[in-house]
């Protein structure tokens, strides 16, 4: 087991009393409680942690936070394996297993590092040019593409079902503070003290931000102590809620913030019943963005070698984790901040070979370095680094004023090109970023939502300003949401006033493009790629991003967007604000699909809507089918029966004697009021004023554009009371439409509509013996004379009062539909089944229901497809000439009428045997070469049991008038099927309608 050779004997926030064992690739290491995977790897002097995306170059840990572009690993194993996790954000736990990504068998001897040798052939736009080039779609290209796709890539998913579960929560607050650094903590404290409900979100195990790794004193005590006191104080307040290990990933409309809490990611497995991750949907009156800033890298040759890191990250590893990532360090900077890294490294015992400062000025920290005998090389820059897969070995430093080249041996480079405010959430809120020319940074512009940015996120990096801005923003936010406006006193801090930052976006290039200078490490985008994009005309930042993939990795360019656009600005000879900034989009950091899905997976994906007779169907052994969110019995197989056997038997038994079917899912709308008949006149194409009480009528509605919309039977229960049925699919839409007409268009109509689909269960009883069965159940006379076709009446059914009986038929048989208050539905259903036993009553499902309606030529969903008119469907005669109704005028437009419309017909295969296929096209000539004119299509298919042959319904140009008894061809070219079939009337059984009237 390797020892932690880079670990300091003391210091840092790690617990040396709690050693943890972990594995990276094939080696076992130890770290301590409080480590991240990155800090533990660095403690063990593991420099090479991955291979780059395109060139498979060796890469090491680059940062210490969410911006990490290089140290992406497979975390965990088996079904918990997660790709592309950032080693800098993974809290170490005992037994952790991680593997490097994007490599061959061995990380060190990756065969695809050969890509590195061919990099001249893999410039920006490589994929685009190759895909569009002469080899496109050739076999050769298909062959090569496989290799390219394999070599360019990220980690792999496990391919196994996720064993963990996820959760979603919603919460509201007056003030949401994002970021628990000094600015955020002061804002939360200030807002909470004024009484507002405050939520504080922080992405680490504990809030504190920079104070966890800087050596500041606040109010005369250590920064960390101040944090612990402040957090404890906040936690003690009832109106404060702190979310740890939680990343605010998206800022949406109306101050809606999406966050993901990594509830158990710091543990080997989720403990107890806890979810692995939880998404928080937060909505706030005011948002305080205290999201901090990201340090920007220097762009020089081979700047991607392991051991070249951000200076602030190096300081974090020294101060927070007690790890020195190297023995001999060169610090390279354009700002004062990195001087503190030089001091921290020196004080931790590392040799600081030199500090290279691009500026000519004397830093405020210069004396502190000189006291430590650290050499400062002003007005100079690193132009290239040398090294191998084990890391950097030396750097070449040139004077920026010419001359003066020198080589410095080192195993660590700590670089800083200043800090860029983290504007991601601000930008997502709709705000535009603004360029601050004095400070050379993008800062938040005007707010578009109720939010404000404070501290480093607002471009103010000094601790004092962070605390002051936080305190003021918390008070302001409290007052803007209706609370007091008292400002919290800001604690005293001592800090040095830092001298000005002078960014150097690209280091000089004495060897003209060699070695490569990387801008976006994760996407392997180098300066030369940006220059190529410029030469080829992709000069807008949005084009630059898409052409080179700059900033399109999982890190979303947190350390590459600003340098990239600065280098483009330089190529164009314009200023940085003129070059512009790409739009930030959610998510800020990657969010797992599991967390977004939450608990809505598997059987919980959608609610299941069951009828009140659901359990009875189950007992009858039905097979289910989804109808929207309803589940309905599809068929009731007897032993050994296929679905086809079953529906043919059910159809035969129903037409031969009697069958029963649960039709509860049809939409049921109760309409009451003196103007109800008038309302129905307007929304249906046929007449309703004269419908007698106790009668039902079939109705059809059109859409405003004249297309057939929905159909169903509506009955008049009393003078001012109607009960409407709709199709299952349109029940919700029709209800909303009726409300629209009544509330918005004709508010003067005195009609109330109520959906009663759930209140009433409906059972259809059909077949020549249905009357005998129904007569045993209900208390009214159901003879043909007393209760003729289309009768509707209240009744007592099986002793249950308040039921309704309708003599309506979807099957074409003598049939009844009984409506029962749903609490009694199962009881009445059983009674009907019992009453029917002497007639061999058969329960039938949607398959038989559909087959019988096809035999009878009734239209349904496949024919009401949003393109057909009532006339197309053979129902043109129903359209009243004497009244106006919804959709009438547009239904008579030229394009909706005439001989060329496809009209509703029936089909029978010419051989009487071959089954037809719904969706197949209809052609005139079986041997015509493409393109073949299609004159119609098959909509529904079934089997006519009485005549013992397959049947179909469909639409054909000109309809029966043009095609009756002629042979056309059903064409299904995907399966190479062509079937001659005869065009016939769509009514296959009882065309005279004698059964339903009998």
């Amino acid at each position: 087991m390797a020892t932690q050779s880079n670990r300091l004997p003391g210091g840092g926030e790690i617990d040396r009393g709690k050693p943890l064992t972990f594995r990276f690739d094939d080696k076992t290491y130890t770290g301590f409680q409080g480590d991240t995977l990155a800090s533990a790897l660095l403690a063990n002097n593991v420099k090479l942690v991955g291979r780059s995306f395109k060139y498979h170059r060796p890469r090491g840990v680059f940062s210490a936070g969410p911006e990490e572009p290089n140290a992406l690993v497979h975390l965990r194993s088996g079904d918990r394996q997660e790709p592309n996790t950032r080693a800098t954000m993974i809290e170490l736990y005992d037994g952790l297993i991680a593997e490097s990504q994007n490599r061959g068998k061995s990380l060190r001897n990756d065969p695809q590092r050969i890509n590195n040798l061919f990099k001249a052939f893999l410039p920006a736009g490589f994929y685009y040019k190759t895909f569009m080039g002469p080899f496109r779609n050739t076999r050769l290209w298909m062959f090569i593409e496989g290799f390219i796709r394999k070599s360019a890539g990220m980690g792999a998913a496990s391919g196994l079902p996720d064993p963990d579960h996820y959760d979603q929560m919603s919460r509201h607050c007056e003030i949401l503070v994002i970021g628990g650094g000094p600015a955020g903590l002061m804002a939360a404290k200030s807002a909470a003290a004024n009484g507002a409900r405050v939520i504080l979100v922080d992405d680490r195990a504990d809030p504190g931000g920079q104070l966890r790794y800087e050596q500041y004193e606040i109010d005369g005590k250590k920064g960390l102590d101040w944090i612990n006191e402040t957090v404890a104080g906040l936690e003690a307040m009832d109106n404060v809620f702190i979310l740890r290990r939680t990343t605010a990933f998206g800022y949406y409309d109306h101050n809606f913030i999406g966050c993901v809490e990594r509830v158990c990611d710091h543990l080997p497995e989720p403990e107890g019943n806890k979810p692995r991750q939880r998404v928080w949907n937060l909505q706030a009156g005011h948002v305080v963005l205290a999201t901090g800033s990201h340090e920007q890298p220097m762009v020089f040759g081979n700047n991607d070698l392991p051991g070249i890191m951000l200076a602030g990250a190096v300081r974090t590893y020294v101060n927070q984790y007690g790890v020195v990532p190297g023995k001999r360090a060169v610090v390279f900077t354009s700002c004062d901040d990195a001087y503190r890294t030089a001091i921290a490294l020196h004080d931790a015992g590392t040799t600081v070979v030199a500090l290279v400062d691009t500026r000519k000025l004397d830093s405020s920290y210069a004396q502190q370095l000189l006291d430590r005998k650290i050499r400062i090389i002003n007005d100079s820059a690193i132009v290239s680094a040398q090294g191998n897969a084990d890391g950097v070995t030396s750097v070449e430093v040139h004077s920026l004023s010419g001359g003066g080249a020198q080589r410095l041996d080192c195993d660590l480079v700590a670089m800083s090109n200043g800090w860029a405010p983290a504007l991601h959430l601000f930008s997502q809120s709709g705000g535009k970023t603004a360029w601050d020319a004095d400070r050379n940074i993008f800062v938040p512009g005007d707010s578009k939502q109720a939010e404000c940015s404070v501290g480093a996120a607002n471009g103010n990096f000094s601790l004092k300003t962070c605390l002051e801005e936080g305190s003021a923003a918390g008070a302001m936010a409290a007052s803007s949401t209706g609370f007091n406006t008292a400002v919290q006193a800001v604690p005293a801090v001592s800090e040095i006033h830092e001298s000005a930052y002078e960014p150097l976006w690209e280091c000089p290039d004495p060897a003209k493009g060699h070695p490569k200078k990387f801008v976006d490490h994760q996407d392997d985008v180098a300066v030369s790629d940006i220059q190529l994009a410029y030469r080829e005309g992709y000069i807008s930042v949005e084009h630059l991003k898409r052409y080179t993939t700059l900033g399109m990795g999982t890190d979303q360019g947190k350390t590459s967007n600003v340098p990239g656009l600065a280098i483009m600005a330089e190529a164009r000879g314009c200023s940085i604000p003129e070059a512009g900034h790409t739009t930030f989009r959610p998510p800020y950091t990657p969010v797992s699909m599991g967390a977004l899905g939450g608990a809505e997976t598997g059987e919980h994906y959608m609610p299941i809507r069951r009828t009140a007779i659901d359990s009875w169907h189950e007992e009858q052994g039905c097979k289910w089918i989804d109808a929207g969110i309803w589940r309905r019995p599809r068929y009731y197989p007897q032993s050994g029966e296929t679905i086809r056997d079953a529906f043919i038997r059910e159809t035969g038994m129903t037409r031969g004697s009697v069958g029963m079917c649960d039709v509860t899912t049809l939409g049921k709308i109760d309409l009451q009021g003196p103007d109800t008949a008038e309302f129905l006149e307007r929304i249906y194409i046929n007449h309703w004023m004269k419908l007698p009480v106790g009668k039902a009528r079939y109705g059809m509605m059109l859409r405003e554009d004249g297309i057939a919309y929905d159909d169903g039977v509506t009955s008049r229960m009393s003078e001012n009371h109607f009960v409407m049925t709709t199709t299952t699919a349109n029940a919700v839409k029709v209800m909303a439409n009726l409300e629209f007409y009544l509330q918005v268009i004709w508010p003067e109509l005195r009609v109330q509509v109520t959906s009663v689909t759930e209140q009433w269960s409906a059972i259809a009883v059909a077949g020549p013996n249905s009357r005998k069965v129904i007569q045993k159940i209900v208390d009214i006379d159901v003879s043909n004379e007393a209760f003729p076709f289309m009768g509707a009446s209240g009744c007592v059914a099986a002793g249950i009062p308040g039921c309704r009986l309708f003599r309506i038929s979807f099957s074409g048989e003598l049939a009844f539909e009984i409506n029962v208050p749903c609490d009694y539905a199962r009881y009445v259903c059983e009674k009907i089944y019992e009453a029917g036993r002497e007639f061999d009553i058969v329960p039938y499902g949607t398959e038989t229901l559909g087959n019988m309606r096809i035999e009878k030529g009734h239209v349904a969903g496949p024919e009401l497809d949003g393109r057909t008119t009532a006339d197309d469907l053979g129902l043109g005669m129903m359209m009243s000439k004497k009244k106006e109704f919804v959709g009438k005028r547009l239904a008579y437009r030229d394009s909706m009428t005439g001989e060329n419309r496809k009209k509703f017909v029936g089909f029978v295969p010419a051989d009487g045997k071959t089954p037809l296929k719904a969706g197949a096209q209809i052609v005139v000539n079986e041997n015509a070469a493409p393109p073949v004119e299609m004159i119609g299509h098959v909509t529904s298919t079934g089997y006519c049991v009485e005549h013992d042959h397959p049947i179909g319904l469909g639409l054909i140009r000109g309809g029966l008038d043009a095609w009756k008894d002629r042979v056309v061809y059903m064409s299904y070219p995907l399966r190479n099927i062509i079937v001659p079939m005869k065009v016939v009337s769509p009514v296959f059984v009882d065309p005279e309608g004698e059964r339903l009237h009998g």
Binding site: H254, K448, E704, A736, F740, V744, P747, E884
Partner: protein, 92 residues
């Protein structure tokens, strides 16, 4: 996530509502006098403004009332809400 102030129920999350289209669109009326052109325009022709837009929303998982919402299509700011049979101007 947009929040809409239902005139009947108060401020609610948009998931309780469904969108109902352009509320500047005036129903031509079911009458023989109405021309096919009027129906055509009512059914098909819509402005697509960038900025304030008057639209119908249905509080379908709430009071089931149709309401008129003046919403900025660019920023999603909800400027005003009124019952569907009232002019939005009354409330501004």
């Amino acid at each position: 996530m947009i929040r809409i102030n239902c005139p009947w129920c108060g401020e609610r999350n948009m998931v309780e509502f469904t969108y109902g289209g352009d509320a500047n669109n005036v129903y031509p009326g079911l009458s023989e006098e109405t021309s096919e052109k009027q129906y055509f325009e009512y059914t098909y022709l819509r402005d697509n403004p960038c900025g304030p837009h008057l639209e119908y929303w249905h509080h379908v998982n709430g009071c089931r009332q149709w309401i008129k919402v003046k919403r900025d299509t660019l920023t999603h700011e909800v400027i005003a809400t009124v019952p569907a049979d009232k002019p939005v101007g009354e409330k501004e």
